[in-house]
Amino acid sequence: MQKSNLIYGLIYVIVAGIFLYAAIAFDNKMSGMLYGMTGALGGNGIFTIIRYFYWQKNKERYQEKVDIEEIEQNDELKQKLRDKAGKYTYWIGMLIVALSIMVYSVLGGLNIMDTEHIVAYLGAYLISQVFIGVIVFNHLLKKYD
């Protein structure tokens, strides 16, 4: 395993320590978020450090693992299936957002809850997804001109 992983792990732990200090020293509304960041970064950092030392003792097995991961990542059939899965997930996501807009609009219309901001945000998100999809497609198509 590369030494950079150990360095990243240490950086995460140090930054987690800074967040922890900030959470304790400045006890305010942001403390909850700071404690959360401490846990996330600290846990990740400690796990990365432990993993580094573990794989240092099992270098051959690590190399095999990396090899298998590289094959799985670059395998053409699996890349094709991941792209397909991404496409289906995108369409399902769009459908969920569209349905959510309808549901929140009805709830807002019936004065059950204040949904103006949610509907506006979801609407903007839906439209931006469509535009971004078109822009990215055209950008990729340019390579083949």
């Binding site: 590289e70 094959i71 799985e72 670059n74 395998d75 053409e76 059939l77 699996k78």
Partner: protein, 76 residues
């Protein structure tokens, strides 16, 4: 609508060389599932991979793969 199907002798050639699907996949740096899917006709390999397979067996691509085209035209 036109369906393209590549028939192949991959299964036969692989066994002749005493390789399991896993071993063969490792040689070509693809997953075992890809080899299995190609052998079962469920997946057509890319041109790159088809050439690599042919080269591995020291054969031409036409000796390993046979191109079959099925045409289903809508009748008006």
């Amino acid at each position: 609508m036109r369906a393209v199907h590549l028939k192949n002798k991959l299964d036969e050639l692989r066994k002749l060389n005493g390789l399991t699907q896993e071993e063969f996949a490792k040689e070509l740096r693809v997953s075992r599932q890809t080899i299995s899917a190609i052998e079962n006709g469920k997946y057509n390999p890319s041109l790159d991979l088809a050439f690599e397979i042919a080269l591995y067996f020291n054969m031409t691509i036409e000796e390993v793969f046979t191109y079959e085209k099925e045409e289903n035209h809508a009748k008006k």
